[in-house]
Amino acid sequence: MSEAHLTMGAHAAPPMEERPFAIPSKKLAMWLFIMADVMTFGACVVVYAFTRNATPEWPRPFRSVTNVAVMTLIMLTSALTMLMALRAAKMADKAKAFRWMMITAAGGVLFTLLHIRDWMGMMSQGVSLLQNPWGPAAFGAAFYSITGFSLLHISVGTIALIAVAIRYQGGRYNADDIEIVSIFWQFVGLVWLFIVPVVYLMNVAR
């Protein structure tokens, strides 16, 4: 029985159910959000696979995936630097945690710029939402929607990283808040690890 219960004496409310997951509310909320987001991304990937499979002569336009390889390396490295920030925050090393978070955010900005560069390359080849030079019109819509959704997550994640880092530096947030944003950042990185094979590597020009 909790201390609060004992002090309340005979007028105590019935005992509350024990928390089955033993997990803080903010962290549970982030995991629930991630579960919902997994469903959204899952639907995107399934629709992409459906469209690709149902469309004869689906284009394989990617002659070089060097840009994508660099983006992947940046994403994985920024996920690691985020963990460095989390570890520093758990050890109450505020300056170090802030520095690692800013390095992670820089990775996010660089990733976003390279992603836009990738899009510009596709647009210069005539790929739009409704048409492309290779035939099936659905290709452009599928490509931009699935990569765009990922780009949106990474951009928002980068802004969240900077905001949390500044508030952590100012003493308004603590290591628990960094752990929450870390879980989200690892998730967006994981989504990218699915997008690379499904969208790019299975459509390499041969």
Binding site: F21, P56, V65, S182, P197, L201
Partner: protein, 104 residues
């Protein structure tokens, strides 16, 4: 909420190196002349390995209570599996487009 406490950075770096190796293999396979279904199976197998590594060690799900892990895995897995229920209909559409044989 001290799931990362007590762990060295070594575990994170080891996972990072594993992920780099798996990604390199994926890029290598992407450039091989492998038929459609075999390519899909290989790519998804590698992606699942990456998911397990990231979720367990980088998102620290492995440090949570077993009941919470079961909750996440069961509900997410269930929805992802049921999402694929309608996917096989694309084979019917493909066959219809290629042969012209199907519903009018």
């Amino acid at each position: 909420m001290a799931t990362a406490e007590g762990h060295g950075i070594g575990k994170y770096v080891a996972v990072y190196l594993c992920l780099l190796v798996v990604m390199a293999l994926q890029f290598f396979i992407g450039y091989q002349n492998i038929a459609g279904s075999a390519l899909v199976v290989r790519m998804l197998t590698f992606a699942v390995i990456e998911t397990i590594l990231v979720v367990l060690f980088w998102m620290n799900l492995g440090s949570e209570k077993p009941l919470f892990i079961k909750f996440i895995v069961f509900f997410t897995g269930f929805v992802l599996l049921t999402l694929n229920y309608g996917w096989t209909d694309s084979f019917r559409l493909l066959l219809f487009r290629l042969t012209g044989f199907g519903p009018s």
